[in-house]
């Protein structure tokens, strides 16, 4: 396998050489292709459009067929990558070279990287879609020149999931509304309630310092880089260090020390090792999958320190495509509120469209549909739609993420892990992170 890794790197280098020639052609021919504007009328020339997504976007065959029925000249084919990481590798390997699908899904995690190549994807802004999404969702995908490079699909507004049985045993309220008012406040308050929970005989309050820190840092508008200059400011930003110290101190007693997504984390979830969990909408499926026999998980309409968003995706139209106008139409249709609600019912992808968010009945119904037990049954409430819509409204900050965001974040996450696993104390670990961040770039 290691041999083939080397070989594939070589192949990339090899294809890169041919790609120079390819982009040379693509650059000159595609503007001509789009200017012919044959896509403006339905029933034009037959075209085949490919849509590349990953994980599960909820774009079912029935949904795509609906579009094909309305546009008889269009055939839509969907390619689904297994993970967001696979899609990312594929995206950047082909973005310059050509060969991407007509409509390509990207995840907010690597949106900053796509932003660096904003000139290689189409500007999607138009009067038709103006105001379709939450402001911060659109802002994040708008480049400095005001071009909109992606149509928002879903978002991950965060609520708090909690284990009602554990709350009860520790003498805390169990009703979602009461828990929401109990936890209302900043992160310090969230940690205080955790101490209260432990004083009442409870065990670990949250899963890990890493996940908690991620929730906290996503509320900081400019954490690691200066939005104007793009310079790395993480090590000078007192706010970052304060959050680091605050979360590592709290984690000493309150954390279950289970690194997120590790085997131990899934086992810990199944065995109810911790009482609360930062819960974006898509986390519901993860919890249900990991702990199918637990009946006591609930969702409270609250999040420490105000609202927070974790994850979400966009659809982009790479400029190297041959049917740019048709591709834009399809992307606009797929991200319309009506279609997003169907995707929510199929895959639990929570809408970023304001009209869809306003339709609480439809969202509640989507959470209550699907295989039994449905999400509504599992989390013991009919109002998951109300909860997450309210959480989406509470999101006020779109954190600035530049070129180095994920490298810096990765270094700090590793530093948190070193404190969590007891191999270093907080100060040593922070100092090492500062040294590593200084070496970047």
């Amino acid at each position: 396998m290691s041999v083939s890794r080397k070989a594939s790197l070589g192949m990339v280098a090899g294809t890169a050489a041919f790609a120079i020639a390819l982009t040379g052609c693509g650059g000159s021919s595609s503007p001509e292709g789009s200017s012919s504007a044959d896509g403006d009328t339905t029933g034009g020339e037959p075209v085949t459009l490919t849509v590349a997504t990953f994980n599960d976007f909820g774009y079912t065959d029935a949904l795509l067929q609906e579009y094909m029925d309305a546009n008889p000249n269009v055939t839509v084919v969907q390619n689904i990558a297994a993970t967001s990481n696979d899609a990312r590798t594929n995206y950047f390997a082909k973005l310059g070279a050509g060969g991407l699908a007509d409509v390509e899904a990207i995840e907010v995690d690597w949106l900053p990287e796509v932003m660096q190549y904003a000139d290689l994807v189409e500007d999607l802004s138009s009067a038709d879609v103006e105001g379709r999404w939450l402001d911060w969702k659109t802002e994040a995908a708008t480049d400095p020149d005001g071009r909109l490079i992606g149509y928002g699909t879903d978002i991950g507004p965060e609520a708090i999931c909690y284990d009602a049985a554990k709350f009860e045993a520790a003498g805390l309220p169990t009703d979602p509304a009461e828990v929401a008012s109990l936890l209302e406040g900043d992160w310090a308050h969230y940690f205080e309630v955790g101490e209260q929970y432990q004083a009442g005989g409870g065990g670990a309050w949250f899963e890990s310092a890493n996940a908690t820190y991620q929730g906290m840092i996503n509320q900081v508008a400019a954490a690691y880089e200066d939005p104007d200059t793009g310079e790395i400011i993480a090590t000078d930003n007192a706010e970052v260090k304060d959050l680091f110290m605050q979360v590592t101190e709290a984690a000493g007693d309150l954390s279950a020390h289970l690194p997120q997504w590790s085997d131990d984390w899934f086992a810990g979830l199944a065995q109810s090792e911790f009482a609360t969990l930062l819960c974006p909408g898509w986390m519901l499926g993860v919890v249900q999958g990991a702990a199918p026999d637990t009946t006591t998980w609930n969702v409270a309409d609250v999040f420490p320190g105000g609202g927070g968003n974790w994850g979400g995706s966009y659809l982009t139209v790479p400029s190297s495509g041959e049917n740019l106008e048709e591709a834009k139409k399809l992307a606009a249709w797929l991200t319309a509120p009506e279609q997003q609600l169907k995707a929510l019912a199929a895959a639990g992808t929570f809408p970023s469209q304001t009209d869809a968010l306003a339709d609480l009945d439809a969202i509640n119904a989507a959470f209550a549909s699907g295989d039994s037990p449905t999400k509504a049954e599992y989390f013991n409430t009919d109002s998951l739609g109300d909860i997450f819509s309210s959480r989406a409204d509470a999101v006020s900050v779109a954190p600035f993420k530049g070129e180095f965001y994920f490298q810096v974040n990765d270094i700090i996450q590793n530093a948190l892990t070193r404190v969590e696993d007891g191999s270093q104390d907080a100060t040593t670990s922070w100092d090492q992170a500062v040294a590593e961040i200084s070496a970047l770039g």
Partner: protein, 318 residues
């Protein structure tokens, strides 16, 4: 024979004869040409192109680079992670190859005896080799979980403390080496077994008549006789060990070598730089450094091999 007839023959060659002669001379090269053409395309060209990219500040997406000389090389050689990766690679290599070859030799020696259901046992040791490495890594990662892993559960039941497989350096290397050993021990045992079967039985008989014990026969007959095969096995596991990737990458959920790079190997470092940070110039420089390390190591092995074989020959003469 004089050369005159030959010369006369050359002079009087017909076109057909000349073609025939050309055929004899050229054909062998033509027959082996496909390999070298393919090797040139997928072997030599990427290596040279990698060298070219390693001198550039390369942008994969735009396929453009800016010449920056050996900056990537000096950066990599000054990077703390590179030296950690080098340490880990050699540590995991030693922890896997040494016990692996010792155990493989022992298993092969046992299989060399007259066992009932020989084929069954021989197939049995090869079975782990058939399992996909990623599947092996998944199973073992689960066993080596820090809190709920099988190994730690057993240790706790025995009244021992849990071992922090994903925190401490040496335990993480042992866990990864275990996966490598699981996969390769049986394979090496079979190769060594083949060499052992080729040893003339009368050598053992003669040794037995002279009163050599079973242990003595193993060290004085078996080991010297399989020495060339042993050297081959050591060489291949050296090359494989220096390129170890799958097992450490699958060892945790992020696959980046741990919070303090406890189990980051050189190939992972290369991969993370290329496909994680999209810094292909630097990744190309790492690839070349890795290439040079492996060449250097192979040369060292080559000289040791020659030395051993020479020793063997002089021993025979004596």
């Amino acid at each position: 024979m004089t050369t005159t007839p030959v010369r006369r023959e050359t002079r009087s060659l017909t076109a057909r004869q000349r073609l025939g002669r050309l055929d004899v001379k050229l054909s062998p090269y033509l027959y082996i040409a496909p390999f070298f053409i393919v090797f040139g395309i997928v072997g030599i060209f990427p290596i040279l192109y990698t060298a070219y990219i390693s001198l550039q500040d390369w942008d994969l997406v735009r396929n453009t680079g800016e010449y920056i000389g050996f900056e990537h090389f000096t950066w990599v050689l000054q990077d703390r992670e590179f030296w950690i990766a080098l340490r880990n690679t050699f540590s995991i290599f030693l922890l896997s190859s040494v016990p692996q070859i010792l155990v493989a030799t022992f298993i092969a020696y046992q299989l060399d005896h007259n066992l009932r259901a020989k084929t069954f046992w021989r197939m049995g040791v090869l079975l782990p080799y058939v399992v996909a490495p990623v599947a092996v890594a998944l199973i073992f990662s689960n066993m080596f979980g820090d809190k709920y892993g099988l190994v730690n559960t057993v240790l706790n039941d025995l009244g021992l403390n849990s071992i922090l497989w994903h925190t401490d350096v040496i335990p993480s290397h042992i866990a990864i080496a275990t996966m490598v050993n699981f996969r390769w021990t049986g394979y090496n045992a079979l190769i060594l077994l083949a060499a052992m079967q080729a040893i003339p039985r009368d050598l053992y008989e003669a040794a037995a008549i002279d009163g050599a014990s079973s242990l003595r026969r193993f060290f004085s007959v078996t080991v010297p006789q399989i020495r060339p095969t042993l050297i081959f096995v050591i060489l291949t596991s050296t090359i494989g060990g220096l390129q170890i990737f799958d097992e450490p990458r699958m060892y945790d959920q992020t696959g980046t070598g741990g919070a303090n790079k406890q189990w980051l190997t050189l190939t992972m470092y290369l991969y993370n730089t290329g496909w994680g940070k999209f810094d292909f110039g630097r990744a190309a420089a790492i690839a070349w450094i890795l290439f040079l390390i492996i060449v250097a190591f192979s040369l060292i092995n080559f000289f040791i091999t020659r030395r051993l074989v020479a020793d063997d020959a002089s021993g025979g003469k004596r």
